[in-house]
Amino acid sequence: MTAIDSALQPAHDTAHGHHAKPSGIGRWLFATNHKDIGSLYLWFAFSMFIFGGVLALCIRAELFRPGLQFWQPELFNQFTTLHGLIMVFGAIMPAFTGLANWMLPLMIGAPDMAFARMNNWSFWLLPPAALLLLLSFAVPGGAAAAGWTLYAPLSTQMGMGMDLTIFAIHIMGVSSIMGSINIIVTILNLRAPGMTMMKMPMFAWASLITAYLIIAVMPVLAGVVTMVLTDRHFGTHFFNAAGGGDPVLYQHIFWFFGHPEVYIMALPAFGIVSHIIPTFSRKPLFGYTSMVYATSSIAILSFMVWAHHMFTTGMPATAQLFFMYATMLIAVPTGVKVFNWIGTMWQGSMSFETPMLFAIGFICLFTVGGLSGVTLSIAAIDIQLQDTYYVVAHFHYVLVAGALFSLFAAVYYWFPKMTGRMYSEFWGKFHFWWSLLWFNVTFFPMHFLGLAGMPRRIPDYNMQFTDFNTMASVGAFCFGLGQLIFFANMLHSLRHGRPAAAKPWEGADTLEWQIATPAPYHSFVEAPDLEVGENGRIDAMHGGKHH
């Protein structure tokens, strides 16, 4: 520990020049500072969120009415595919990595991420990958159009857009694996004295467990898309029955990645909410220890449920039963978390600033997604709902109202610490209520569409589905518009926001609120001595030095 600490400290004060705040484009291209890299990640994720959002609106425009108005079916399929890939790999995952980069060292008293130069490369791999996906629209045959799941053998039929997608997935996989190694090593090795594992903030726990999930499953994804690549170009027959392969094998391997991936996008959200709810309830997190165990159980169970995405492939009854029971079991630790959050609010002294609103919105709507998830886990019912709009509704409740709302909550919560300024509370609250309303107008009717028999991934539909589709499209455009309010609020507040106090939230008690606002460019270059309570609560801090 001491050896690592001293290795990470800047040489000494006289040789100061090289770690003064760099300027110009070089500050970003050669960034090794965790705060700069965190900001890069967040800006990248936001631009991908806009890109993926525009694709979503292209989809909703076509589905506004029956008939084909704007796009040919082939292009429509490209939109659904790229919308999924970009939101998952370009927006949500990088946003969480960005927050971990920014906040983890501040929350556990580390000087920076453990591998600062690798951190730079983890980020700078992402823009080329995004560029490949963007460019794939322009190649002959267009972008990949097999759905974000890229099921074989459909994905072996596509044009070179599929190859670009596979390459992009490889690059993004390498990036997220490196990012995860950094998070794991930072948390395990660079905690300040006193910040023990069973005391550290839930966001650190969630990031740690998520990082392990990423390292476990991203290589699996890389493997399966490589098998598609060799089937496409090098004459292998992994997924071609005529050559002794099996199309369903693709789905098994993909979902062995795909289900833990769902939790890669959910666990960090749980971590964020586990700080915001206590802060604005002015009361410690209820059941910290059970939160840690619940998060770990969810992570372990996530490896045992993959085939619930495949109930209609014709698995034997025993396999259906096993995967159904295992999936239902996940409801138990997830329920514990929801109860713990409500237990935290109970008898608190709550106030409802924007981060708290988004956190409460998260809990309610994520639970709606969880309950429709229980319904889907029942294999007998899933036969009717698999591949319908019910599934689309379900996972958007989990990923938009879940992951995305938690990200908004986090950005509002930590914005003062990151920038030294307050955002506009009025426009923050407006953004919340606007998003909450139109999110539900967009996605709630999709439950009805799915139940009534509308398959997903179709560009045109029978007239009986018109009303709810029209409603969903109107909702989607309004929801999209609302995100510009968020953007404008952030941009304006960055320059003109009211200066923020070191601890703008009365109930905040973790380490990042103990240092100046905005956070110094180099923080904790000397580790402080901490007296820490559960969930990273700082009871006393001695020493510690910043630049």
């Binding site: 159904m324 109860f339 609010m345 709550m350 309950l371 007998a380 139940l451 398959p455």
Partner: protein, 371 residues
Amino acid sequence: MASRRVLLLLTGWSPAVLAAGVNLQPPVTGIAQDIYDLHMLLLYITGGIFVLVFGVMFWAILRHRKSAGHQAKHFHENTTVEIVWTLIPLLILVAMAWPATRLILQQKSSAGAELTIKVTGYQWKWHYDYLDDGVAFMSHLATPQSAIHQVADRGEHYLLEVDQPLVVPTGTKVRLLLTANDVIHAWWVPQLGVKQDAIPGFVRDSWFKVDRPGTYRGQCAELCGKDHGFMPIVVEAKAPADYQAWLAARQKAAAANLEDPNKIWPLAELVARGEKVYTQNCVACHQANGKGIPGAFPALDGSAIATKDKPGHIDIVLNGSKKNAAMAAWGKQLSDTDIAAVITYERNAWGNHTGDVVQPKDIKAARGGKA
């Protein structure tokens, strides 16, 4: 229409709304009925949980707020409560799993079927083969292209209508053997409670037993490429006597339609027939004007293969393309006469004026006795 629906949604759940497509379609098989009932049970349980849990939360939000002057109490754990709220969900899940398990076992027991039909998914149509009765046919989307662009041409069953439905007898346990020719499709008819992936190279089975005569509609449920949204399924359930009459008529027609493979056709007849074959099978990719979709599907109008290389043309239609997996091997799907007709059509349509005639016997020869 939309505003009325929204209004009803906002003002409460009237039966009219329930009938207008917010729940599973009315079941017509025992399995579909059981799924419907189990889903309602789940809806009540999960709805109850939601109201209960968030009732507590909103109570806290109302009462335990700073603006109401509430002081925070600083408890942060309670072992008894935590054990209780772990065990209660577990018990609820067991209660859900019990009926679900029984239903799954029932869904999976396809033994004792009285009629077996092989279903093959193609891009983008379904083929039905009554294995014991010598009747087989392709089922295509019947909605005309014009309806996709013009509201006036749309009927009630827009995109959910086919030229030849699957006909089954009522009160009979029908077993489906499902497979696919190219990519994965999924055969789904909501009112029957059947959804089963059709996987190329593998055979999966499913079953249903319809009680009421009627027409039941569904769609392909697994993304299978460009026209995934345009390959509906229609099942017509007839009383056993009507079914037998239909079957006999089909068998008679099939016998009458057996074509002499050595017949020599005149150009005009081949072109006329070829145009029909083209419209049913080729138009989705190569388009009605023969121009294809640049970058994705090659043009036939003016292409070398459709104007010069006749053996190559026959080969690619019969055996598919080695370079582009989207071009299927039609030899497995179409008769010699149909293939001869469509090739003749392609060589004489649009700007292609080769005057070439390809006869069924040429196709037979090209198959090299393989067929």
